[in-house]
Assembly symmetry: D3
Homo-oligomer: 146 residues x 6
């Protein structure tokens, strides 16, 4: 139980989580997740418009990969960009990322454009959280290009 105690102590509210120096780099932008999610959206759109079996097989296999990249980029934001001091500004942070990741799983399994659209909306929420916490200035070299 020693180990468990150590963890509980670590997680307890008065623990100061040391700010650690970010490597790779401190460059984070929800655009990375969004671009891959837009791929999923457009793949579903094209899937609906083409009934060729080989085409649809490719579409499903490629959507799976792009969706996996959405998850990866969301995870990096959640792990590495967002820090305990942001929880005040974004109190639903954890649930937002959890639901977004679960939505990616739904997009993997789905051929409905609504599922992809809802994922884009959730990434927009994450984008808003990134902006509200100073993301553009703190993480991009010269802000987000227009």
């Amino acid at each position: 139980m020693n180990a468990a105690n150590a963890v509980l102590r670590f997680l307890s509210p008065n623990t100061v989580v040391r700010a650690h120096c970010d490597l790779p780099c401190g460059v984070y932008d929800p655009e990375q997740a969004r671009i891959e999610a837009e791929s999923c959206y457009k793949i579903i759109e094209k899937y609906a418009a083409n009934e060729d079996v080989a085409y649809r097989t490719r579409a499903i296999a490629i959507k799976e990969d792009r969706a996996e990249l959405v998850k990866h980029h969301l995870d990096v934001l959640w792990h590495d960009y967002f820090k305990p001091e942001h929880l005040e500004k974004v109190p639903n942070l954890h649930d937002l990322f959890w639901q977004a990741n679960k939505q990616v799983s739904k997009v993997k399994a789905s051929t409905s454009l609504d599922d992809a659209r809802q994922l884009l909306s959730m990434i927009d929420q994450i984008d808003a959280a990134w902006k509200a916490t100073g993301g553009p200035e703190k993480t991009r070299v010269a802000g987000r290009p227009g």
Copy 2:
């Protein structure tokens, strides 16, 4: 604001999040994260015992990769194994995974055995949560081998 509203509606407490069929498979086990985290532990141990520059360079590069795999396996558990109905049994679920992932970042940056040991403890906590929610029976083909 339409999109944001849609998200908020989706996230609102009375939304029924449909149970979705798991593909790949429903097989999840914190052992995957633990084995990679043990690699990090042993790499740090070997790093301390060998001052050769080339050896240490390899050790750091390999630790980076194994640690990245720890994150990946933790993320999959958090996204895909744990579901809303588990939050009652594991109320600190999100924080547990968030802190564990941040600890992996620390292990990447560190050559201290204590950091790796703390990560193992946190994975033990996650293992306990997996067991408390029926993980071994529900996710392994014939339970976890002895």
Copy 3:
């Protein structure tokens, strides 16, 4: 023929193959291969129960990837964990891994549960070889968790 001779000399019975220090880490466990093989098993099970074309396409593509990971984890065990001194305890070592890898190829190509079950049995054999050669104590930080 110089090069070929050098190789033959190297492979000759009285050559002492130097034990080399393992990096990454010396952490090896057949659980890694087994978990991915269980994924294949459950994917085949779900495939049989769902006739939706898009669902089945995903199942086949994902099974391919999980099976590839089984091969990877088996290869690492064979290359890096098992050493010449283990051949006495496990005289059929090479054939065991060769057949297991060929069975993975069969699972990739198959939608029969029997093929996946046979792969699990072969991994159990490898697990027994790992235990017989002291794997749990020598390679895990605190043995295999229960």
Copy 4:
């Protein structure tokens, strides 16, 4: 020589290169390359500010990976987004991408901020070419977010 002739015929100016349907998706944005290149930039900045050997080893290994991703994203733009009809608007297209990729190699090998800055400038050129050919409207679901 038959095959070579076929190729020459294929490459000859009056060959109509059929527009092919893009899968994955038709979503392309130089932001993907730029974000990874900004990572390289910031890694070099942090490398200069920290003389710890382990830190610098990580920085170099991570920069290598991020730079490889820059190349990948540039390649996708060049292969898949840009089409023969764009050569009129962007006559130096090939040289632009060739030089940019060679600059990425330089950034991999370098710890000078100037090399990373020059890469960012070259990606800005590519961004301009993407805009000049209608990239934002044609490839993003709702344009590039502000």
Copy 5:
């Protein structure tokens, strides 16, 4: 516009592009691209001969991956092996690689053997360019094996 000017200056004809030391290694051979392209060729052949749905799904998913590797190997040759001084000997260098990469996209989308055959021809052209510029002697340890 400063940045753009800097780029233009960099790209201008009298700029001396410093020869940079190649790491990884200076080993390049179009065989790598060709072998993966032959895989695509044979997959299409087998696809035509087998009407089983699961078989064909695998064939399409695997062809996608092998084709992606063709692109990767072509890109490495273009970025890293070929240098400005080769443009005299291979004046259509850029177009050759551009068309070959676009042909790979066609092979991904196609189940026609002609498309794969044409890709092989284009790689043969690239192979000829590699030989014409001294590739075998300069890049292989002991030339290309017979």
Copy 6:
């Protein structure tokens, strides 16, 4: 022999291990492993000639990756190209691949050119086995190019 018997029993005496149709493709060539091994060779050569710390760090990290690819390509040959009927012509097949893979591990850990040279010799042995079993005609589309 216990374990072997169990496997044989498991495979049941009357089970004919069906020759399975190879997908991806049946294209195998030891050139893939050799090219990556030559990269390791040349990286070690360049490492010896350059004492810059950052340069050497890159060299070690890149050699690690290329060596991993050697293992991957060797594994594919062993799993998928070689079949039970080849054991008569190549009786030391398993040991040859096992020792070659262990030599790759040595090359990962080493900065000695001799270790890389020995790996190349072992791959030459494997190449000879591939030729002796009809590899060039059976696996390449038009033999190995000169």
